[in-house]
């Protein structure tokens, strides 16, 4: 037997010994030692038991060892797998819808948490807290084709966590989609104003204050929100607010640039034109 084989044999013997010595009796389900391929999901360290919130996020599907989902969390995780790994949005949507139907205020299968006492360590909550991940995932898949559905889901997320960043911006995006598909100018203007309201609600959640400016040097933030606002005001023909938002966008990107770096130059170009237009002497009628 070669040295390596001898070593590996010894290792295997040791590993088995350790496993055999691991106490297993009397352990609470969900906290026993995990034996890959042997122990089912309750003892899998990658299967995250609710305590009292569900794990909001994504766990690699192959680690979960779920054959058939049976809880809203499991349906959410499979939906994420369909969406992220398989690019199967049809099945993802179905799973998110199932998850939400099983974790829903309307049928009393979830609840909003309004008190710290409800989430004390090891608290047991019945019904479970409402989850935001399946709602956000489903909403974004519907934001172009069914913006009203998306807006409804985003509103549910704001019920769960009103301070969560980015949700109001998504609502603004959904209203922008409605405006783009509007049948008439009046409806379009109405949707654009709803979008503007949503974007402004987003800005309120991470305000630029004297303290934040002193700490960062930033005179503005939320560059993409300001860019979207400028676009909405442009569609409404509101040059003053468009210019204001373009300036805020430039301030927000001063130290952070943008994923769309060319927007910065475009903003400068447009702002220069707008300023020239806004500061042009007003034509006075002849007397």
């Amino acid at each position: 037997m070669s040295f390596r084989k001898l070593a590996l044999t010894a290792l295997a013997v040791t590993s088995a010994a350790v496993a055999q010595n691991t106490p297993t009796a009397g352990l609470t389900t969900g906290n026993g030692p995990y034996v890959p391929g042997v122990t089912y999901q309750a003892d899998n360290p990658n299967y995250l038991n609710r305590n009292p919130f569900y794990f909001e996020g994504r766990v690699d599907w192959n680690l979960l060892k779920i054959t058939t989902p049976s809880t809203p969390w499991e349906f959410t995780q499979r939906g994420i797998h369909y969406q992220d790994d398989l690019q199967d949005t049809t099945d993802a949507i179905a799973d998110y819808q199932t998850a939400i139907s099983m974790n829903n205020l309307t049928n009393n299968t979830c609840q909003l948490i309004t008190s710290a006492a409800l989430v004390a360590p090891n608290a047991t909550l019945t019904p479970a807290p409402c989850m935001f991940t399946p709602r956000l995932r489903l909403a974004y898949l519907m934001i172009e084709t069914s913006p009203d559905v998306a807006i409804g889901l985003y509103q549910q997320v704001l019920q769960i966590d009103p301070l969560r960043l980015g949700i109001n911006a998504f609502i603004g995006e959904a209203y922008d989609n409605k405006a783009a598909a509007a049948a008439d100018a009046t409806s379009q203007a109405s949707y654009l104003n709803s979008a503007i309201a949503a974007y402004k609600a987003e800005l309120v959640l991470s305000p630029v204050t004297a303290q934040s400016t002193a700490l960062t040097g930033d005179k503005a933030n939320n560059a993409h929100v300001h860019w979207a606002l400028a676009a909405d005001y442009a569609q409404l023909g509101d040059a003053v607010n468009q210019a204001s938002e373009l300036q805020a966008y430039l301030d927000a990107t001063q130290w952070h640039s943008d994923t769309y770096a060319w927007h910065i130059q475009l903003a400068k170009t447009r702002l220069a034109k707008l300023n020239a237009q806004l500061h042009r002497p007003i034509d006075r009628p002849n007397r």
């Binding site: 352990l27 360290p45 710290a116 004390a120 360590p121 204050t209 927000a252």
Partner: protein, 705 residues
């Protein structure tokens, strides 16, 4: 003295056991040097040995945790008069308690244990104690409570004069006094920790499995456990080379590494809200997984034969072999062709210095030997001068030139870069072949982790690995970018203007400034974040907000960040630590999730943002090309082809995290200046490891221009 020490060492509280060998005090690495020069030289480079105990970052983080917990992370000892949560004596710490049944036992020495278990246990003897107990709790507690102003970083206690007597820097956290020598405990994880092992400590581990938080039986005898089944007798019986096959096999196994390289934190209120795991010995002790490295390995493909090498591999096969300087292997994972260093290739060498180390000079055989560099993701954040002042004049420069006996770089920084280059691959060839003005264009990046654990790993909530992407036309006009950084001022730490350095800049997915806290009058100290820092004074979404958008909303855009995340779930009524536009504190009425940069503040963790081993994932960037009209406004004409460049970068700590430590341990922090980190530390020593792997493709440009 010697007798008392031996007695303590042989019958340690809650550790050790029946060892049929003569006891022996813990040996300094220098005692092993004459016969094991190569191993000594290699280990000297390892950050776990020596550096970690003087690291400004480790010391800063331990200090920050103590500010918040009121000193609970400092060890207690056998003669302590403190009480646990049930009013019983609290006289054992994380290492000397078995089993752990009280959260205060777990917190006592929580950081110190993993980095200095031997000397924490020795400290039950007051004459051997380097790190003293501190008074704990709020100012109203017994003894006046915790005093941030008097609190010294751990490294202050790791100095002696030439007679071996402990000396302290003149000012808290100050430079070593002239003539100061490193204390015995400074060596940290050295020869006499691993080679004194007696197996896994199942009783003390949270799940009874020997995993995490130094769940290791460590003896203190002349029996030294090595990797060889038939060791040669040692000269003059300085030690006995163990023939205990179970100990030898354990030392050679990944389970041995798992005793320390999982770290499980006590869940603080309102509990580990995402993962209901608790100590099997004490169901009232919930925990969550900080470092989850060995669990990742144990549940991953390299712990089975189902990997490109067709055999189960061990931690030692990459971190104690010639890897990453071994011959390469080529294999395919998903659609990605990989040529990488081969694990489990070991050098042939002598295990000890021939001619001086064996009984009767018995000739030593050439063997496959392991390497003790233990190269990982860290490189010291200190100058070579300060390293040598704190750790001895022979401490190596992490950037030193030259090669070792095998022709591989001596410098830890070079070894790290090479190791990280083996850790992942990306492939962008499934990107759309054509872009059309005004329409969506999708870059598809397949990424796979190749390390035995996830990538990044370890303190993975701060290890910042990410994809840098640029899409440009043939003239270099940038159409989309992600994973970029921008040089900017950092007024909160005194950098008032951009400094020309991008390595001190964070990614642009969020803008965060963490509160460093502030001092309160003596007698007013209270535990918790309040005045002790860690809450986010600024928390805004940035333009490259990929991590949250991708995870929670399924958006195919923005930064791909493999860094895991410590999260605080604010319970209703708990202030976020910042104000609204009207100057009023923002107080959530519903639970609110936010990233936090102090584990002591977190109450849950997302350990799934990193790449799991050998399971490719595709990350998509869907963005809109400029319209013809927009290009006209800009006066730009795009030139084909478009160039899509992707690469993975890595930084072992994010600047935002270091800036938090600069402030909380700085002059304006809760305890005054601990002289650990400044903005200059970040600017000088924090280095990005760029371009670990890359992929470039081109796309044609369609549609009317």
């Amino acid at each position: 003295m010697g007798v008392a020490l031996s007695a303590v060492a042989q019958t340690p509280t809650g550790n050790g056991g029946d060892v049929p060998f003569k006891s022996q005090p813990i040996q300094q690495p220098q005692s092993c040097l004459p016969c094991h020069q190569r191993q000594y030289d290699e280990l000297r480079q390892s950050v776990k040995s020596g550096y970690r105990n003087v690291s400004p970052l480790f010391n800063g983080l331990e200090t920050a945790g103590n500010f918040i917990t009121g000193g609970l992370l400092r060890p207690v000892y056998a003669d302590s008069t403190k009480l646990d949560t049930n009013g019983q004596p609290l006289n054992s710490n994380m290492f000397t308690t078995s089993p752990i049944t009280d959260g205060l036992q777990l917190r006592a020495g929580f950081c110190f244990t993993c980095h200095n278990a031997n000397y924490e246990r020795l400290a039950n003897d007051p004459t051997q104690r380097e790190v003293p107990e501190v008074t704990t709790g709020a100012a109203s507690a017994v003894g006046g409570g915790f005093r941030p102003d008097l609190f010294r970083p751990l490294r202050d206690y790791h100095m002696t004069d030439t007679s071996g007597k402990q000396i302290l820097p003149a000012s808290i956290g100050g430079y070593p006094p002239s003539g100061a020598l490193p204390s015995k405990g400074t060596a940290g994880i050295s020869c006499d920790l691993c080679h004194n092992e007696g197996g896994p400590d199942l009783e003390r581990s949270f799940k009874g499995d020997g995993f995490a938080n130094t769940s290791l039986i460590i003896n203190s005898s002349i029996e030294k456990v090595g990797p060889f089944p038939f060791p040669v007798d040692v000269k003059n019986n300085f030690h006995i080379a163990s023939n205990d096959q179970s100990k030898i096999s354990f030392l050679r196994s990944s389970a041995f590494c798992g005793a320390c390289h999982d770290v499980r934190l006590p869940g603080g209120g309102p509990g580990d809200l995402a993962n209901n795991e608790f100590n099997v010995h004490a169901p009232s002790l919930p925990y969550f997984r900080l470092e989850n490295l060995n669990t990742e390995f144990q549940t991953g493909a390299y712990n089975t034969p189902n990997n490109p090498f067709g055999k189960t591999l061990r931690c030692q096969d990459c971190h104690m072999s010639l890897f990453p300087y071994s011959p390469t292997s080529t294999y395919t994972v998903g659609n990605i062709n990989v040529t990488n260093a081969t694990p489990a290739v070991f050098a042939q060498n002598y295990a000890a210095v021939p001619g001086i180390s064996t009984d009767q000079n018995y000739p030593l055989p050439l063997r496959q030997v392991v390497d003790h560099h233990f190269t990982g993701t860290d490189v010291p954040l200190l100058s070579a001068t300060e390293l040598q002042a704190r750790l001895g004049p022979d401490y190596p420069d992490p950037y030193e030139p030259g090669v070792d006996g095998y022709g591989n770089p001596l410098a830890l920084a070079s070894r790290r870069q090479k190791l990280l280059e083996q850790a992942a691959r990306i492939d962008a060839t499934q990107t759309d072949p054509q872009a059309i003005l005004g329409q969506d264009f999708t870059v598809r990046v397949n990424a796979v982790g190749l390390s035995g654990h996830r990538f990044p790993a370890g303190f993975s909530q701060e290890r910042t690995a990410y994809i840098q992407l640029s899409v440009t036309d043939d003239n270099g006009f940038v159409l989309y970018q992600s994973g970029y950084r921008v040089d900017k001022p950092h007024p909160d730490t005194g950098e008032m203007a951009p400094d020309g350095n991008l390595d001190d800049e964070d990614n642009e997915h969020v803008h965060v400034v963490v509160d460093g806290g502030q001092a309160v009058p003596v007698g007013s100290y209270a535990t918790g974040a309040g005045n002790n820092g860690s809450k986010n004074l600024v928390f805004e979404l940035g333009p490259d907000n990929g991590p949250d958008d991708r995870v929670y909303s399924g958006v195919d855009a923005g930064l791909v960040l493999f860094r895991n995340e410590l999260t605080v779930i604010f319970a209703p009524g708990t202030p976020l630590g910042r104000n609204d536009a009207n100057g009023n504190p923002i107080v959530p009425a519903k639970p609110h999730y936010e990233e936090t940069f102090n584990a002591a503040t977190a109450n849950t963790v997302d350990n799934y943002r990193s790449l799991q081993p050998l399971v490719p994932r595709q990350f998509r960037y869907k963005f809109t090309m400029p319209t013809k009209a927009e290009l006209a406004e800009l006066g730009v004409t795009l030139k084909a082809p478009l160039h899509v460049h992707t690469q993975i970068n890595d930084e072992h700590f994010p600047p935002v995290f270091m800036r938090y430590l600069v402030k909380t341990t700085g002059p304006s922090g809760p305890g005054g200046d601990k002289q650990l980190l400044t903005e200059a530390t970040i600017d000088t020593y924090l280095k990005t490891n760029p371009n670990l792997t890359s992929s470039d493709v081109t796309a044609t440009l369609g549609g009317a221009q």
